[in-house]
């Protein structure tokens, strides 16, 4: 079996496992998994920029929120139905990431982190400022009746689960394919040694801009899907916390691996879920586990697996 066949087997296996989980797991966990898969889309988008291109952004909540509010506000204010609203959400994320990418890529390293963080803060404050439309921190609920697409009621647990699985699978497989393509390999080259990539004749600035746009648009899709499937849009999702989450997920799961984002979200989700059932100081337990993982598995769970066991893992 070649490495390519193995990775395809792995990716399809993960999707099959998620589909089977719906029939095996109790309702509580099925509900969790719907949420996890949508957040994993967000992590996949983040991983594309951080794990594969080597750009650490602290402002991805802005792209997530662009998708979320693009969909939410167009449904709330302009009575669009779900399908066109989803496209508006994607388009908003694309435009926002193109503009932010264009401006922020004039910097690199720590400055890039700070500039993206500042833009995201500005975005968050803008949402609060236009509170009469966005309802600020309180947010707004997307009525259950509107959450339907192509005749499917997306507020129903079953359709919601499979809608999340469908979107996750598309992003998961598309990014897995993209990072194996010449374009993706050039991004990896930029991550490894940007100056060398430039001196091989690659326009590294335009490559990085494309990476920001792809990453931001996938993150925006996650935001739009979250609003649509769970029926709520709020400014909390634009806070710095939601910029840090994908970084944590990707670091824990394994930056620069295709399955790392999903693993990271599952791990973090259940870490908080389980520790909060033990004590109210659950963040203390989560914190200790995170420190231990960073110490003993610095490449993340999937990263360590790849290093030690499955060297072929994409």
């Amino acid at each position: 079996m070649t490495d390519t066949q193995r990775s395809q087997g792995l990716h399809l296996g993960v999707i099959a496992l998620l589909a089977a989980a719906f029939f095996i797991l109790p309702t509580y966990h099925v509900g969790n998994l719907s949420r996890i898969m949508v957040l994993a889309i967000y992590a996949i988008g983040y991983n594309f920029l951080f794990g594969y291109t080597g750009l650490l952004s602290l402002g991805h909540a802005l792209f997530f929120a662009a998708g979320m509010y693009g969909l939410g506000l167009s449904m709330e204010l302009f009575d669009l139905s779900a399908a066109p609203a989803l496209i508006v959400g994607l388009a908003s994320a694309l435009v926002v990431s193109a503009v932010i990418g264009f401006l922020a890529l004039r910097t690199s390293g720590v400055s890039f982190m700070i500039v993206t963080l500042m833009f995201a803060q500005a975005g968050y404050l803008t949402i609060l400022y236009f509170g009469s439309y966005t309802r600020g921190d309180e947010g707004f609920v997307i009525p259950q009746a509107d959450r339907a697409m192509f005749g499917f009621d997306l507020s129903n647990d079953t359709t919601r689960y499979f809608a999340a699985l469908l979107l996750f699978s598309i992003c998961f497989l598309a990014v897995a394919r993209l990072v194996q393509s010449p374009f993706g390999r050039t991004l990896i080259a930029i991550r490894e040694n940007e100056e060398r990539a430039r001196m091989l004749g690659y326009n590294t600035v335009s490559h990085k801009l494309k990476a920001v746009i792809i990453s931001g648009t996938i993150s925006g899709l996650a935001g739009a899907a979250y609003a649509l499937l769970f029926g709520y849009a709020g400014a909390t999702f634009a806070t710095v916390q939601y910029s840090i989450f994908p970084l944590l997920w990707v670091l824990l799961g394994g930056a620069g691996t295709t399955i790392g984002p999903l693993i990271g979200v599952i791990f973090m989700f259940y870490l908080i879920d389980l520790s909060s059932s033990i004590t109210s100081a659950y963040m203390l337990i989560a914190g200790v586990v995170l420190v231990l993982l960073t110490l003993f598995a610095p490449q993340g769970l999937a990263g360590e697996l790849r290093k030690r066991v499955f060297k072929w893992m994409p």
């Binding site: 080259a189 430039r198 001196m199 091989l200 326009n203």
Partner: protein, 243 residues
């Protein structure tokens, strides 16, 4: 510009604050030949080639490649015209395999044609003698092998002009001999501009030599002419033991 020369410069100058690293350099590089650029440490050799390939912006002056003024082109655009550059301080993709390192160099030109890229990779790795290490991670190679990998990455671009910045630095004697054979095999195929400290390598490979001293061209000519040049002897050859 005349068809004889692939590259030339006019009045090329680089100043860092008040200090001039290169002053008014008028330089011509004959097509298809190997030219060595020599000079003592700090003579401005790396600054000069840095300005040729666009890594270092020139303060003033012009660079012509194939008769075209390329002042306004960014580094990656100059590379796309067919200028390959190897770094003085080894700069490979340390986390990637040798195959992927060379494939990245080949892919920019060959695009998505995987078969052509793979053939190119196999060809150039064989040329530098790294075939059996194809699947190793570049960062695990010895320093000498990393230098050879750099050369392979240059070759994979099928450059019209190949600029090598101190390629034999840190190579073992046997590897230096292989390198000389490699450069001589390329002669006629492509134009080579070699920054080199090892006079043995220079004398064995170069058809022409340009001597830089204090940021200015001190002399230019064939190896015999340079050897006989008194100014060069005073400034440079006289201070080395292996000349």
């Amino acid at each position: 510009m005349d068809a004889m020369n692939i590259l030339s410069t006019k009045g090329l100058t680089k100043a860092y604050g008040g200090i001039k690293a290169n002053t008014d350099i008028d330089f011509v590089l004959p097509r298809g030949k190997t030219m060595a650029l020599i000079g003592p440490n700090g003579a401005g050799k790396s600054t000069f080639v840095g300005m040729l390939c666009g890594r270092i912006p020139a303060t003033s002056g012009d660079v012509f490649f194939e008769g075209q003024n390329i002042n306004a082109l960014a580094a990656h655009q100059r590379i796309s015209l067919g200028i390959a550059y190897t770094f003085q301080i080894t700069s490979v993709f340390a986390g990637l395999s040798l195959h992927e390192n060379v494939a990245l160099a080949a892919r920019r030109r060959l695009g998505t044609d995987t078969a052509a890229v793979n053939a190119k990779v196999a060809d150039v790795l064989a040329r530098v003698g790294l075939t059996e290490r194809t699947d190793q991670i570049a960062g695990d190679l010895s320093y000498g092998h990393q230098r050879l990998l750099e050369i392979a990455m240059g070759l994979a671009q099928d450059p019209r002009l190949f600029i090598l910045d101190e390629p034999t630095q840190g190579l073992a004697d046997s590897e230096v001999a292989d390198f000389i054979a490699l450069i001589n095999a390329l002669a006629g195929e492509t134009t080579i501009l070699l920054i080199e400290h090892n006079m043995h390598v220079v004398m064995q490979t170069a058809a022409y030599i340009t001597v830089l001293n204090g940021g200015e061209i001190l002399a230019a000519g064939t190896p015999d002419e340079i050897h006989a040049n008194e100014a060069v002897q005073a400034a440079y050859l006289g201070t080395t033991t292996n000349a």
